[in-house]
Symmetry: C2
């Protein structure tokens, strides 16, 4: 994906980003597994399936547990505050638990049948287990943080709770957008800030909070994470329309099929001009016809072409670039070791320069 041009992490190679992600996984996965094992059966099994540790038959698996960007950010944030990476581990695991709570519930609400190239939990174990295990992961996140018993853990829990509330607000907004004819660019950005920005903000600061950072430093890291989340989401919205199904694991025109009012769409509709107006007419007609499974590839291709012609694709690319720049600039508000700052820039580059 070349949505972002030159990035600032020239000194951090792809290899070292992979090492950061891998290190995050190594430090956090054993803790994640041990807290998931606290769940009453069959929730422990259902959660293990969700995390890719076992397959549908209950046999050990090496599933795709996701990119694990959030744990890596949480550990780096501890180091940014001068603490060892290990200080961030409970925060990293708590954020992963909240993230996966939201995946379990959102997949059910959205009717998504696939995640990480496997059937979703509600599809395999039924809606009740998806609800219950999601609830349990959310409660576990708070349990894990609060049992640290420190004032820092209390502050971290408060920030995580605030992020969780925003995450839920964002999902509520996303669902309400489906029933609306028009959504403004500002509303879309607010929704994406809640749904994606807030938890990435928390991931990027929670380790620092646990490591004893000042509120001002934690806020600077939150700002980095929030705008990184918005950059991430802008790229995600581009991939949702123009991504390669082979690498994204989703269908072609995935977001158009789901009629998502994502950034490229709302930006194109707001742009004005002939392509924007034609797109508006088509989407309005589509909305009156709730079943679009019968749409041909050509019909999706036409909508995608109109979004691009109206400038929605270019605007979203620029938006990703703007959010990336704001994220990187926020790092200068905090005094941190140069090496850690370079790594945070490197992770930001990884998040925005991607094709899946």
């Amino acid at each position: 994906m070349s949505a972002i041009g030159a990035t600032r992490g020239e000194n951090v190679t792809a290899d070292s980003v992979n090492a950061l992600l891998e290190n995050g996984r190594i430090l956090t996965t054993p803790v994640l597994r041990s807290v998931v094992a606290r769940l009453a059966p069959p929730m422990d099994t259902v959660a293990s399936y969700h995390f890719g540790w076992i397959d549908q038959a209950g046999l050990p698996a090496e599933g795709d547990g996701g990119k694990a960007v959030r744990p890596a950010l949480a550990l780096l944030s501890a180091q940014a505050a001068g603490a060892p990476a290990e200080a961030g581990v409970p925060g990293a695991v708590a954020v992963e638990l909240v993230h996966n709570f939201s995946l379990l519930h959102d997949d059910l609400m959205d009717g998504d049948e696939q995640r990480r190239h496997r059937h979703t939990v509600w599809k395999v174990h039924g809606p009740s287990q998806a609800i219950l295990v999601g609830d349990a992961l959310l409660a576990l996140a708070n349990e894990l943080l609060l049992e640290q018993g420190t004032a820092e853990a209390g502050r971290a829990t408060r920030r995580l709770t605030s992020a969780t509330r925003k995450l839920i607000d964002g999902q509520a907004q996303d669902i309400s957008f489906e029933h609306r004819e028009r959504v403004t660019v500002a509303e879309c950005l607010e929704m994406e800030g809640n749904k994606t920005g807030a938890l990435l903000a928390c991931a990027s600061s929670i380790g620092a909070v646990l490591g004893g950072a000042s509120e001002a430093d934690a806020d600077a890291l939150e700002e980095y994470g929030y705008h990184l989340g918005l950059a991430f989401q802008a790229i995600d919205d581009l991939l949702g329309i123009w991504g390669d199904p082979e690498t994204t694991g989703k269908q072609t025109w995935s977001d158009l099929r789901q009629r998502k009012k994502s950034l490229p769409v709302v930006a194109a509709l707001a742009a004005g001009g002939p392509a924007s107006e034609r797109l508006g007419e088509l989407l309005l007609a589509d909305a009156k016809n709730p079943e679009n499974d019968a749409f041909s590839e050509e019909e999706f291709a036409l909508r995608a072409a109109l979004i691009e012609e109206a400038g929605g694709r270019e605007w979203t690319s620029e938006e990703a670039r703007r959010q990336y720049a704001t994220a990187i600039a926020a790092l200068d508000k905090m005094d941190m070791p140069d090496e850690i700052q370079r790594k945070l820039v490197g992770l930001a580059d990884f998040v925005v320069v991607r094709n899946k």
Copy 2:
């Protein structure tokens, strides 16, 4: 309900229990309303419907918000610790939020269409809103407590989180029992302790924790609330089979229709003897026939009679009495004003001597 014989709260009249409950409502409802108003639309509306503040059309209503025993307990527990009732308000509201989170999700999982004589949220606003608003209430509970910013609030949040985890474990156990042929009395009691006891334990101690009580005193109050919860649930299980539909608002033989493996059923099955064996055969045959809507009243009446004949009704009444006695005895482990102890006994009487 005369399941419990003589109780100890002779000095607390029904009027003064009603005053306790009403006082709890007066102190907590404004705070509950103000935190619910923080939710993004349409979650604020959906939650207001759930709490009975508005009707399906969105017009103001004076709905039945439930007995409000938990808020009253939370405020009394603050007073037990020598603090003013007001000190317990954030705890009372947080417990109510968690309780209602579980109602929203459980009604959806259980397919229950009615609650407090009104349609349930998932039935009116759809499953997604029931999931989302439940999630939001859970997060709000932690938010409200943690924003108090005190060490006591941190301890209270930790106890509330522990209770929430047990609540979820209990619901998971309850669901798993539906798919099993036999459940032991011990398993049933464990499930009910998780599903009902844990949150009542938290309600009975959270005000004290916020009011600065020692861990030992908070534990004594938790013990009172836990066993009170088990007594409450035993009565609930009796009403679920033999309650008067006019007062309970449920169908006749409600729990038998839902094939719940409640205490009277598992106790009857464990008792042995001809009635117990006949009941076991019938329930086993029922389990092979998943649709029992066609069952006649006589068939339910036969099952209820066999449960009673096998001793399930009497055992459950005795169990309620035992749990009540254990709850009351726990109060002597803490040094508290006599007047408050009398009120806690009075509330316990109210909880176990009821017909709906």
